[in-house]
Amino acid sequence: MKNLIRLEKRADSSSTLNLLVPTCSVIMALIVGAIFLYVVGHSPIKAYSAMFKGGFGSMYGIGETIVKSIPLMLCALGISLAFRMQLWNIGAEGQLYMGAFGATWLALTFPETPAIILLPAMFLVGAACGALWGIIPAIPRAVLGVNEIITTLMLNYVAILWVSYLVYGPWRDPDGFNFPLTAVFSANAQLPTFGDTRIHAGLLFALIIAIIIHIAMKHSRFGYEIRITGNSPAAAKYAGMSTTKNIILVMMFSGAICGIAGMAEASGLMHRLHANFSPGYGYTGIIIAWLSKLHPAAMVIVAILFGGLQAGGFTLQSSGVPAAIVLMLQGLILFFVLGGEILTRYRITYHGKSKTVEVQ
């Protein structure tokens, strides 16, 4: 009975399966989530419809969904750069906090500077702080091969504590009733929003960066080197590419984009800095990047779906179901995507007694 079912590596990947597997994964995750909800005594139908309504059921809901998807898009885009080179940047969360920190520092220090100067400066400083948080783990990784998964993750905790220190301490708003937040930014330091919505210019940053990444990966020498190094480090070395330099550069850009996400959150949405302002955007970004197979356009779309999940989870909380269900569903989706990938990577063949049946 042994080895009736065999796995053969596919030479090419089928694009139908590449779309089908993630879609089915999301559906399967929702089904398992529903079973879980039912078992612990919540009505899955009520919960899901409340979530859907919260995320996509009204103009306000859609607006909130897009607002939540902005940091998700930016984090996923940043993470995807590193993933292309097989670098596991799990530090997006910390890079996001550092970006928000950098932008806030400028906003609080130079509130009178005209917006046309202040906002670009906040953008650059936010990106630079995120980039710094990417470079710190990149150097030991590039030079000594120190595991970047753990170092990037450890820096998340450091960045979150750093922001907490500031908003509980030196930066606390004296008129803030002792809440852990800074004073509201001056109008000069606030990103413009679209109409009456809370959707801010951060959305444009995300879309432009998605386009730049798409073009750079296809048509630039740097993009080419990243792809080669990611696929085969040995080949890259043989071709004379400097892996050390590329690791540091990629982590720098990756961190910078996540830093921009933080700048946009502070300047476009919160208009101040809070303690613990992110519900794990940096981690959800990892799921989005993986689910989208690192395609920039797919990341934008998937980020909107996950933004809906986040916004829906928020409304769900008011109906008594803990918002942690959102995190659970995200984990489940990733489980099914991973499990389903075997179908895209391998051809499963059944070796019966005499004939071979192929399961496509």
Binding site: W88, G331, L338
Partner: protein, 310 residues
């Protein structure tokens, strides 16, 4: 700083290091079989919440520990299914496990927030051993789970380096093809040790909610699962070194906590950063040492085994 203060801090270091020790020991077993499980943080959280829940319902702490093992083992089973049978990417699967475990524990623990545990694990003086000068009060005036961790370090060391089963385990992690051809089932071994690893991570989590805190808080592991993963590299996949490393982290934790009682005017947020910064430094130092010779990671760590490609 008198001797009694140092002894108090060191005893606190053992307590603070114990949850990390359990999780590290589990991850050592898992990684020795060639499976990298980055879901330790999630498994610890699941263990912490399951242990607390059962201990609260039954009033029996050991029932809580069993529940924690079960919870950690179940999550690890998902990882084994995905990475061993379905050959999924081990890094991403581990991350998914951490995200899922964080969500699951947050969900299940919502009702348990702030509840006190009527009885928690208390320290029990071991009559003879606690009389040993210096070491006695540090090591042998602890709770039963700490003693369990001592025993576990020895048992796992013997298992790994002095038994046939340990030899097979290491063979599967170093060269699964060779192990397979000698008749050792690669997937059975990997399933077994991944699940055992998850169970130990579960106990590590339960230690936090049943002995260290003792209560349930969302995300109460605060990165200890990740520190445990880093510690495995420091420990060179050896249980004995994991013990040393875990207490080193425990000492940082305990010191950070005690420094606040002095009038040093250092923000508690900076003190809380210490374990994370220390992890980075230790990891850099251990990687350097690994590169300059010595024992490295299991050769097949992180790589799915496919018999057809042997």
């Amino acid at each position: 700083m008198d001797a009694s203060f140092i002894i108090t801090v060191l005893a606190a270091a053992v307590t603070a290091g114990t949850p990390i020790l359990f999780a590290s020991l589990g991850e050592i077993l898992t990684e020795r079989s060639g499976v990298l499980n980055l879901g330790v943080e999630g498994m610890m959280l699941a263990g912490a919440v399951a242990g607390f829940m059962l201990a609260l319902i039954t009033g029996n702490l050991w029932a809580g520990v069993l529940a924690a093992m079960l919870a950690g083992g179940m999550l690890a089973l998902i990882h084994a299914l995905l990475t061993v049978t379905l050959k999924a990417n081990q890094v991403v699967s581990g991350l998914a496990l951490t995200i899922f475990g964080t969500g699951l524990s947050g969900y299940l623990g919502k009702e348990l927030l702030g509840l006190p545990l009527p009885n928690s694990f208390k320290s029990v003086k071991l009559d003879f051993f606690s009389e040993i000068p210096i070491l006695g009060p540090i090591l042998f005036n602890q709770d039963p789970l700490v003693y369990l961790s001592f025993a576990l370090v020895l048992v796992l060391w013997v298992l790994l380096f002095r038994t046939r089963a340990g030899l097979n385990l290491r063979a599967v992690g170093e060269n699964p093809g060779a192990a397979d051809s000698l008749g050792v089932s690669v997937s059975k071994t990997r399933y077994l040790y991944t699940i055992l690893g998850g169970m130990l991570a579960g106990i590590g989590g339960a230690y936090l909610s049943l002995a260290y805190a003792p209560s349930w808080m969302e995300n109460m592991t605060a990165g200890r699962g990740w520190i445990a993963v880093a510690l495995v590299i420091f420990a060179r996949w050896n249980p004995l070194y994991a013990l040393l490393g875990a207490y080193m982290f425990g000492a940082i934790d305990a010191l950070g906590f005690r420094i606040q009682t002095f009038d040093l005017n250092i923000s508690p947020y900076f003190l809380s950063m210490l374990p994370y910064l220390f992890t980075i430094i230790v990891l850099i130092a251990s990687t350097r040492r690994l590169r300059t010779g010595g024992v490295g990671a299991p050769q097949a760590l992180g790589v799915a085994y496919n018999r057809e490609e042997r």
